[in-house]
Every structure is written in structure tokens, then in C-alpha cells.
């Protein structure tokens, strides 16, 4: 097959597709034909004998949102099996974690899920604070963390939904989504000086207080956002073509979702009402009232692509609700606990999980009492969510692969770490 030659020439260092398929699937990737050159005389219609075909999607493919290679095994238009090959963006985040002091890692946590830097910062900060045990994070800092995390959740979902539209063929909603996301990035730029990798939430609090008038500008943005979300519904969510492409496609049953460790909108799309902000409230989340949206969507069934999409779009409204409450209750005071320059972390271990836009972000940190962690493990939500792709795309059409992959909402920086 031509793809083999092309792949080998461009990526000579990795194993050949043929070896890979043989080792993993126990099948041979011989040159495959749609029409057999030597029809078997036993077949009723010898000229129509078909073989299974192996199709390589990626690693450079616009719908893979990064560098991801999917190996599809096709029977005509129907997908029989999918094998995901990841690791193209592996940057040794865990090894780096073992070689840095605790407070130096914040910048690296930004770069894992680069669409939700604030959420990653919050997860890392909480993990180290629990490990240290005796840190009193100021009240105001906790509220600011919640505000930033929820704004970032809206921003991340806007990217997810906008690019999902593009994957399926609707380009306009993408521009709408990015227009609104820019406004959130402006707010982030005011507080942190950065638009993508914030390094704002630190161990012990946040690095600096909100600037003058920031709360009013944030409220103004929330007033602006509500009608925009209605507009988004009109343009994309209730568009009959969009619904046809996503409803009843890539159905993920609840038990399979739990078995594969799917979390976040993936799990809630399958009808499981679980949200760490409610079940294991961290920070000050227990003080706010908000709903946990679950599937199904306006049409379709529980656990299909539309349900996952629908959960995300309704989560944005809930996040806006939380931000508004947090702004109203925002206390005054310091934003940073008093900490030594080099953190002394007692020996011990902790597994802390927080709710990221993509699901459960876990940090498992083992300390041996030295200034650097002994082991630093990151449980990334997109890694587990992506692993289910083989299960939910079996039997789907090739054209639906992009719809299914987009609905998982992966960020490869986090999958590969």
C-alpha cells in the first residue's frame, strides 16, 4: 500500500506499520485490495470478493487536534477496529517533576493541558498543599482560584465546541467561539500577563491580587456571554445537519465508560451524574450552587456524541453561574500564604484529583522529605478518555470517525505528557 512507503520515508525511526500491526493485532498488513486479483472460484460472485483494508489516519491530520495516529481496519466503509498510537508529544513531564523543586513545577503543569492551564495549576497546587499538610491558603485566594478555573473551563469548552464544528464541517461557529474566548484570555492577561500559559495559581495561593476593576469587567463579560451561548445553540447545537451527524453516533454505555476510566463530560454524557466539584468538593466549591448536566442531548440517545457535546455546552452556563457567585462572595484579604523560599515537604504520599474541563486530573506525589518529589505521577483525563476510542467506534462509518474523535475532546499535550 502506498501509505507504507510514505510513512517509512518520512518517519524512518519508528517501526514499520507492518511490524506494528503484526505485533499488536496479530494480523499481517499485506498490501490489501478492495477487489481481489485472484478471485476464488468458490465465491458466489468472485469479482466482488473484498478484503479488509488498513487505513492510516494521522499522525498529521487536522482533526486529530495535535499529533495522534489512528490505525483503522476497514471493511468497506465500516470501521472494524481502531488502534491509537500516541507518544509523539511525550515531554517526560513525570521525570522532569522528579528533578524540580515543588514550586518550580507550576510552569510545567500549564503545559500539560494547554487549553486549561489554570485548572492544571489549581490541581498541582492543591496536591502539594495537601502533602505539606499545614498550609492555610487565604480565603480570597481560594475564591480567585475558583473564578479562574471556571473561566478557563468556559474557554476550554469554547475551543472544544468550536473545533468540533469544524471537524464536522461547520466553520462559522468556530469563529464565534474564538471571538468569545478572546475576551476570557483578555481577562487572564490582566491578572497574569499571559494568554495561554498563566503560571498564576501557585502553591499557597495565587501570585498577585486582581487588578482594580477586574471584577466589574468579569461581570460584564458574563453578561455578554449568556446571549452568545444562546446564539451558539442556534448556530450549531440545534442545527439539523449537526444533529444528524452526532446523534446516535459513537454510543458509550455507562458501564463501559466507568470500566475504561472515562471522566468529565465523557462520563456525564453517558448519564452518570458524577462531578468531583460536588462529590469530593475541593477548594471552596461546596459553597456554590450549580447543576451537573448529564446526557442525553436534545435528540439521540444517552452516551452518543451529541450528549457529550450537550453536556459541555450546558456546563459553560453552570460555570458562569459559579463565577458570578464567587465574585459576589469574594472576601478581602491577602492572596498568598507565608511560605519559605524552599518548600519543606514531610515524607508521605498523596493522590489528589480535581475536575478539569476534560475530566479527572490526578496528581500522585511521593515525598521522601527532600526538596524534590521522589515520584511525580500525573493521571491525565484525556489519556483514559482516548483509550475508549476502539470500543465506541467499532461498527461506525469512516466518516463518523472524525465526529467520534472530536467528541472525546483530547488535548495531545496531556495525553502524552
Amino acid at each position: 500500500m502506498a501509505i507504507h512507503g510514505c510513512y517509512t520515508a518520512r518517519f524512518p525511526r519508528r517501526l514499520l506499520l507492518k511490524d506494528f500491526m503484526e505485533s499488536l493485532l496479530g494480523m499481517t498488513a499485506q498490501p490489501q485490495r478492495l477487489h481481489s486479483a485472484h478471485p476464488s472460484p468458490d465465491s458466489p460472485e468472485p469479482h466482488l470478493v473484498t478484503d479488509e483494508m488498513v487505513l492510516n489516519m494521522g499522525p498529521q491530520h487536522p482533526s486529530t487536534h495535535g499529533i495522534l495516529r489512528l490505525i483503522l481496519k476497514l471493511d468497506g466503509e465500516v470501521v472494524r477496529d481502531v488502534q491509537a498510537e500516541i507518544g509523539y508529544l511525550h515531554r517526560c513531564k513525570e521525570k522532569i517533576g522528579e528533578n524540580l523543586q515543588y514550586n518550580q513545577y507550576t510552569t510545567y503543569s500549564d503545559r500539560m493541558d494547554y487549553l486549561a492551564g489554570m485548572n492544571n495549576n489549581v490541581g498541582h497546587a492543591i496536591a502539594v498543599e495537601r502533602l505539606m499538610g499545614n498550609i492555610q491558603v487565604p480565603e480570597r485566594a481560594e475564591y480567585i482560584r475558583v473564578i479562574m478555573a471556571e473561566l478557563n473551563r468556559i474557554a476550554s469548552h469554547l475551543v472544544a465546541l468550536g473545533t468540533y464544528g469544524v471537524d464536522i464541517g461547520a466553520v462559522t461557529p468556530f469563529l464565534y467561539a474564538f471571538r468569545d474566548r478572546e475576551k476570557i484570555l483578555d481577562l487572564f492577561e490582566e491578572v497574569s500577563g499571559a494568554r495561554l500559559l498563566y503560571n498564576y495559581v501557585r502553591i499557597g495561593g495565587v501570585v498577585r491580587d486582581l487588578p482594580e476593576g477586574w471584577g466589574d469587567r468579569c461581570r460584564k463579560f458574563l453578561d455578554y456571554l449568556a446571549p452568545r451561548l444562546d446564539e451558539f445553540d442556534t448556530v450549531l447545537s440545534l442545527n439539523p445537519i449537526f444533529i444528524d451527524r452526532t446523534a446516535k453516533v459513537g454510543v458509550l454505555p455507562a458501564d463501559v465508560a466507568i470500566n475504561y476510566g472515562c471522566t468529565g463530560p465523557m462520563l456525564r454524557g453517558s448519564g452518570v451524574k458524577r462531578d468531583l466539584r460536588k462529590d469530593e468538593p475541593y477548594s471552596v466549591y461546596s459553597r456554590f450552587s450549580f447543576e451537573t448536566p448529564v446526557g442525553p442531548g436534545p435528540r439521540g440517545v444517552v452516551g452518543d456524541c451529541l450528549a457529550r457535546y450537550w453536556v459541555r455546552i450546558r456546563e459553560m452556563r453552570e460555570s458562569a453561574k459559579i463565577v458570578r457567585q464567587a465574585l459576589d462572595q469574594l472576601p478581602s484579604g491577602p492572596v498568598m500564604a507565608k511560605l519559605p523560599r524552599i518548600l519543606r515537604v514531610p515524607p508521605g504520599e498523596v493522590y489528589v484529583r480535581t475536575e478539569n474541563p476534560r475530566g479527572e486530573l490526578g496528581f500522585y506525589i511521593i515525598s521522601d522529605g527532600s526538596p524534590k518529589p521522589y515520584r511525580f505521577k500525573v493521571r491525565s483525563p484525556a489519556y483514559c478518555n482516548l483509550s475508549v476510542i476502539g470500543e465506541i467506534s467499532r461498527g461506525a462509518l469512516v466518516a463518523d470517525m472524525v465526529a467520534i474523535l472530536g467528541s472525546i475532546d483530547i488535548v495531545l499535550g496531556e495525553v502524552d505528557r
Binding site: 513525570e94 522528579e98 476510566g261 500522585y364 505521577k377 493521571r379 483514559c384
Partner: protein
């Protein structure tokens, strides 16, 4: 079940199979030998009082002469957490796979194999997942030696191509003499320009 009650329940249920049990911070934990792990895992999932249906995280830890796999479980119906540690000797780090019970373990066990070198027996296709298939060594081990080169790519940052170096054939457009002459002409031109 409260964490303390859970530990007591597990001690009664798996009497003799637990090498260690107690609390790590606020979480209950147990330690199991690799040969008992499969049966313990089965009952963790199927006992009605436990029902650990969700494997949150599987980590690998280098403990000098032991390599350890750490499992973090959560039960959605019962809403309790458990940490399980299974350690194997460094010389032959073999731990039974639990892919048939929790599918999350599939990619996580491959990752632990890839980065730490723990061999999960019974895994359907244990292979490297994040690193290339021909990578040598397991980077998260504490005694890992960083490679100085990978397929001709220098990792030390000290080696630069000189005029005498043999250039790979597919990049060879000119002979070393031609290159030297061109470089000399370039240097002469640069000097001429500045003086």
C-alpha cells in the same frame, strides 16, 4: 464505608494475604504480594460491600530493590477509595495484569512497562506506548542512564558537524573539498566586507 472501617473489613476478608494495611494520609491502603494480587483484585471488584468499579490511576514507583505498582481505586456505588500496592523484585519485575477487570489498566500498564519496566503478565499486548518501540531502557527508574545519542541524533549538545565529518549519504550534495573551498570563500568575503 469510612476509611477506618474499610481497612478493618479488608483485614478480616483477606486475612493472611495482606502484607501490610493501614492509612496513607486520609486514604486506606493495603499491600499484596504479586501471587495473591489476581484473586484479591477479583474480590475487590465483585464483593458487594466493596464494588471497586473504577480504577482511577495506576502508577509505578522505583523502590530500589523492588519495583512497585500502585493502584488507586474508587467505588461509584459505595463512594470509597482504596490504594493497593503490589511490589515485585527488580531482577524479575512480574505482576499479574488486571486488564480483564478494569480496562483502564490496559494503557496504564503499558505506560508502567514503558517507563518503569514492570512486566504485567497476561496483558493482551504489552508494548511501549509513549516511547518509540526501539527505545533502550526505562526512563523513570532511578538508575536510568540518559542516552547520548538516538539514531545519530546527538543528545549531549556538544557534538557539531565539522568539515572533516562524513555527511550522511542522502544529504551529500558536494564533496568535502568543495565544501571547504566554499567555506573559505565565504570567510574571505565576510572579512572583505567588514574591513
Amino acid at each position: 464505608m469510612t476509611p477506618q472501617a474499610l481497612v478493618e473489613f479488608l483485614q478480616a476478608k483477606f486475612d493472611g494475604k495482606l502484607l501490610e494495611s493501614g492509612m496513607t494520609g486520609s486514604d486506606p491502603f493495603i499491600r499484596v504480594a504479586p501471587e495473591d494480587w489476581l484473586s484479591v483484585a477479583q474480590s475487590l471488584r465483585e464483593t458487594p460491600e466493596l464494588q471497586f468499579d473504577y480504577l482511577m490511576c495506576l502508577s509505578s514507583v522505583d523502590r530500589k530493590e523492588l519495583l512497585e505498582a500502585v493502584y488507586h481505586f474508587y467505588s461509584y456505588p459505595q463512594q470509597h477509595r482504596l490504594e493497593v500496592k503490589v511490589a515485585a523484585l527488580r531482577e524479575a519485575p512480574k505482576i499479574p495484569s488486571v486488564v480483564h477487570l478494569w480496562k483502564t489498566a490496559d494503557w496504564h500498564e503499558r505506560e508502567a512497562y514503558d517507563l518503569m519496566g514492570i512486566e504485567f503478565t497476561g496483558h493482551p499486548h504489552l508494548s511501549r506506548i509513549l516511547l518509540p518501540d526501539d527505545w533502550v531502557g526505562h526512563p523513570l527508574r532511578k538508575d536510568y542512564q540518559f542516552p547520548t545519542e538516538y539514531h545519530g541524533i546527538d543528545h549531549t549538545g556538544r557534538k557539531w558537524l565539522t568539515l572533516e565529518d562524513k555527511i550522511p549519504e542522502h544529504l551529500e550534495h558536494q564533496t568535502p573539498e568543495e565544501r571547504a573551498a566554499k567555506a573559505a570563500a565565504g570567510r574571505a568575503g565576510a572579512r572583505g566586507g567588514t574591513s
